[in-house]
Symmetry: C4
Subunit: 193 residues, 4 copies
Amino acid sequence: MRRNRIEAFSDGVLAIIITIMVLELKVPHGEGFDALRPLLPVLLSYILSFIYIGIYWNNHHHMLHTVEHVSASVLWANLHLLFWLSLFPFVTAWAGENNFAPNPTALYGFVMLMAAVAYYVLQQRIIATQGDYSLLKRAVGKDLKGKLSPVFYIAAIIFSFIEHRISWVLYVLVAVMWLIPDKRIERVIDNDN
Amino acid sequence: MRRNRIEAFSDGVLAIIITIMVLELKVPHGEGFDALRPLLPVLLSYILSFIYIGIYWNNHHHMLHTVEHVSASVLWANLHLLFWLSLFPFVTAWAGENNFAPNPTALYGFVMLMAAVAYYVLQQRIIATQGDYSLLKRAVGKDLKGKLSPVFYIAAIIFSFIEHRISWVLYVLVAVMWLIPDKRIERVIDNDN
Amino acid sequence: MRRNRIEAFSDGVLAIIITIMVLELKVPHGEGFDALRPLLPVLLSYILSFIYIGIYWNNHHHMLHTVEHVSASVLWANLHLLFWLSLFPFVTAWAGENNFAPNPTALYGFVMLMAAVAYYVLQQRIIATQGDYSLLKRAVGKDLKGKLSPVFYIAAIIFSFIEHRISWVLYVLVAVMWLIPDKRIERVIDNDN
Amino acid sequence: MRRNRIEAFSDGVLAIIITIMVLELKVPHGEGFDALRPLLPVLLSYILSFIYIGIYWNNHHHMLHTVEHVSASVLWANLHLLFWLSLFPFVTAWAGENNFAPNPTALYGFVMLMAAVAYYVLQQRIIATQGDYSLLKRAVGKDLKGKLSPVFYIAAIIFSFIEHRISWVLYVLVAVMWLIPDKRIERVIDNDN
């Protein structure tokens, strides 16, 4: 029951974040299709961030699935993650409205990086509360994706000042990497039963 | 429990989408009733989209009811559907604010069409995970409504450049068709028990 | 479980409506307290509508408590109620921003009236599905409040064109009337157990 | 089940409040980092209020955990609390956009104070419904934090007209005080089992 409420609150915040982003697609005043053209980069950044929030929701869902007792540190680590995710609409809109310019590209990567760090911290807090036989620890294993993502984000931040199109290729690559479904946790849970 | 969380998240997103649309009814500055007149098409498009989201919520509710295990592909097919539904506030407002002009009428139909396709894909993913004796497959049956809707949407898109009032008649017709309650799934579930 | 989902969706929509209204309290540009003065009527109308949504949530909660099976007609009667409630932020802001002028006062009453009618329709649909020994029917009894409210709203709409301050007194009176907790349903349920 | 719905509604409202605040971080038009500079105070006030809402959610979660039957007075005391919390986005944005000027600083403290009072009232209502052996009463104990917070808020309101930077130090101190996890309720519940 404890876990249920942290799930419900997180679901609520993630559902609102994902939907609020669409508000940045400001309805144009003209009625022609050309009035939509300036919105194209905003739509593209929206799609990317939508996928990212979907990935976070999916992984968050699996991770909390292993939790039985929510300690105060887990609760705050979760709020910390939600804080960084709550900045997605802002950085998404800033990047989209400025046609993926270098500075917004770098800030997008920075918030992505901080969210990844916050996710990692939350994961470690849960593992710590689960003790030696942590279900999550075994499920995560070497956590290759989790370790690769920050490297990609840092590379993208650096590239944003050199050739910012490469940064967006990296952001897309990370999303694609995570889209390949994470069967590890499911497998370990199944083995347990 | 798995299913519960995908339901809760979808409910959250649909509740926000349906409520966010009303924000496009911008509060007028004048205090006379004539200040409301420009809002009438926005209100009409809001009502239509409200009904559409209600229909999707209702059918989604019945469809997920048959699901026992949420696979990764079902989860992403669901997010794909939510993505297209999240564009409803935008296309609704664009159509309403431009008095149902041809281009917004076509885009409205396009997003409707893509949502219908996404719904169909989700349905097929669920049926695929349920195997030979899929409860949903039997419930859906010939899926006449599901097959007719895209035809209507495509017709409406074409008509939007010829006589766009016909397109809106078609959009209303599809809504009316779906409003007739879908007893198929309920019936099959009852037979099963 | 069925009922759970209609409750969750309604809770979501009501939570969003109640919170969206506060967005009409536009942050003023000045830093003095006098910059807040034009917001006072907006705040007052927000408080009144907040209480109204609270009352609806409370009564809705009790009413659905008696429901066991959600039929299609109940589901749509519920969405119909949510539609009128979704217009509260708009009429609240229009009334507040125009200092409770006659026309916005009348429209506020009209939406209140339609929400009350929608609530009544929902109540009747639930009673109809429950058959002869309807728990809700006995709980509602003579439904004095439910019958008085529309009378007050209609009176308030008429007064809005004569002396609109009386209309607001009536709106407050209806809220006060409902704030007196509705023990009827609770009593009947207790008797049943 | 009763409790579940008041939890779900409160979770929904809190999730929306916490996410709506981020909308005040208006996307700047320039693409340079200097375009972000005016947003820094808005971000800082957002972070503080985010933490406050997190604290309220956490404590609210623990408090409702002790509730078995939700009476009408508890329900309205809860809505009263949600009302004051719903004003957080407004006072947060006003303070942030005016660089923490004296008047917004005082109003921020006033809303904090009223939310603390509303929380106290809710706590007392719950204790009253629980009778002599109230689980919550024993859990709260001397309620040192609960009694200290209003004193700090009042001091901060006074200081806002003398040296408003001290007020913000006080607001941060209260947040830090509450961040130290409240193990009292957890301990008493554990003893009970």
